[in-house]
């Protein structure tokens, strides 16, 4: 089987989110990558070095700069003329593009797979991960999004794939990128961090979040996250959200501070290796999944913890 993997990037750097998708694709067959963007030759160069990649397709066109699905999907459909499976990371970019490709190919997409069980059989979580479904598709072409935390990252060095230019991209004219507000942060990225400190409703305010959660995270070299309640309350921006509909994370250590543990939040972090919970309510559901729990007032515990680390 020939697979085509969508590379996640910002036109300058290849994002780590691509690497587990390469691992998933390799279980199906030969791996080709697609780098679609503008002025993204450097990304293609990085992509050639990923272990196990046979070929890198490079589509460099102004219409592809912002990953608009209206412009990228037709290009992928063309490439699917000689590929059997299209795989994208289950990121907001992948989730935006892949179903558009699937519909144009008349294929039912397999979303958010967590294992490849055969050429047509996959496992995926449903109901916020409260149930796990093994599914078998009858479509001859496959369109798949891959949950990054479920597959090992392919090695980013060691490969020597060739680059092939893809032409034919065009602007569909129906959508235009206007602006992006991307938070710059010195901290590790949430989805690839080894340690995450997350704050919930119990933190109380954005000021408290800055005064308590961020210093603890910095002491641990951790990324910062949040529950939906904390984002809805405006303590932190949306890109901090961990959960069913936010980011799915699986760090070595996840520290949940003032998070009660709604099933939608647990769905996003319960595959973490070690979960530490700090909460004043000893009956909070978070303690049912936590490896280490500390019951008490986070306003006393967190500063003390930060100072003792």
């Amino acid at each position: 089987m020939k697979t085509l993997v969508l590379v996640e990037h910002d036109n300058a750097t290849l994002k780590d989110a691509t690497l587990p998708v390469v691992t998933a694709a390799a279980k199906l067959g030969e791996v080709h990558l697609l780098v679609a963007g503008k002025g993204c030759a450097a990304v293609a160069e990085q992509a050639t070095k990923i272990a196990g990649v046979g070929k890198v397709h490079l589509a460099d066109d102004a219409a592809l700069e912002h990953q608009l699905p209206e412009n990228i999907a037709p290009l992928i459909v063309d490439l699917m003329g000689h590929h059997d499976a299209f795989l994208a990371p289950a990121t907001t970019t992948g989730k935006n593009i892949a179903p558009r490709v699937a519909a144009l190919l008349d294929v039912m997409q397999l979303s958010d797979i967590i294992s490849v069980d055969g050429p047509d059989t996959f496992t995926r979580p449903i109901y916020a991960g409260n149930a796990i479904a093994q599914v078998k598709t009858s479509d001859t072409k496959l369109v798949i999004t891959v949950r990054g935390t479920a597959f090992e990252k392919a090695a980013s060095e060691g490969g020597s794939a060739s680059v092939e230019a893809v032409s034919g991209a065009s602007d569909a004219g129906s959508a235009r990128f206007v602006s992006a507000e991307v938070a710059a942060s010195e901290r590790p990225e949430l989805t690839s961090a080894k340690i995450i400190v997350s704050g919930g409703r119990g933190v109380g305010s954005g000021e408290n979040y800055k005064a308590l959660i961020e210093p603890l995270a910095d002491k641990l070299g951790a990324a910062v996250g949040a529950s939906r309640a904390a984002v809805d309350a405006g303590f932190v921006p949306n890109d901090y959200q961990v959960g069913q509909t936010g980011k799915i994370v699986a760090p070595e250590v996840y520290v949940a501070v003032g998070i009660s543990g709604a099933i939608q939040h647990l769905a996003g972090m319960k595959d973490s290796k070690t979960i530490i919970a700090i909460n004043k309510d000893e009956d909070a559901p978070i303690f049912q999944v936590a490896d280490i729990g500390l019951v008490g007032d986070l306003f006393q515990i967190v500063p003390e913890l930060t100072s003792k680390l």
């Binding site: 179903p99 109901y127 992006a180 921006p237 939608q264 049912q288």
Partner: protein, 248 residues
Amino acid sequence: MKILVPVKRVLDYNLKPRVKADGSGVDLANVKLSMNPFDEIAVEEAIRLKEKGVATEIVAVSIGEAKSQETLRTALAMGADRAILVTHDGVAEPLAVAKLLKAIVDEEQPGLVILGKQAIDDDSNQTGQMLAALLGWAQGTFASKVEVEGETVNVTREVDGGLETVALKLPAIVTTDLRLNEPRYASLPNIMKAKSKPLAQKTPADYGVDMTPRIETLNVSEPPKRQAGIKVGSVDELVDKLKALGVA
């Protein structure tokens, strides 16, 4: 402008799903089913656009078993003007649903279709994007802000890195994220009024759409359970544990 809002009836989001012992799926007998929360946000957004004078009519659509009528009545009680129920028992995959919605769009000619970004049962996150593809329309997924200006809709999207704004030519597809709005509760008088609002009953055959699933579910199981761990009594103990983990 007419707005079409598809809604899905799913296990109520407050309930914990129970996997059936025979591994055939999640038990939906005798449990509360409600409108998918993201779809409520979609209905609310359509109503707000009508209140602003941007939209003139809101048509709610549901595809599912006959009881999905209740979900449509909820949409009507919130403020939708009329409803279309496409009755279908059994699995309705996003691709088939998108094909049905395309046929309804061809008939109704809405200027905007607002959908929930995903249903909280199968977590597919596909239908809006698929509908956009089948129609050849632009899509603004995971919306946290929607502003119609003339022939354009500006959609601010919640993306992994933060926020992104795109300008889409109308007609277009929008899918809702959590923070687009807070859906209203239907008032009792509006619930009563909704009972007499028009609700058309259709079948997939009326639209010539084949509902045969492409994906077969072989087995549904419980996820591996995490065991509750230990509780420590002090910050010092927690520091020791963190040191033992090699993170401090």
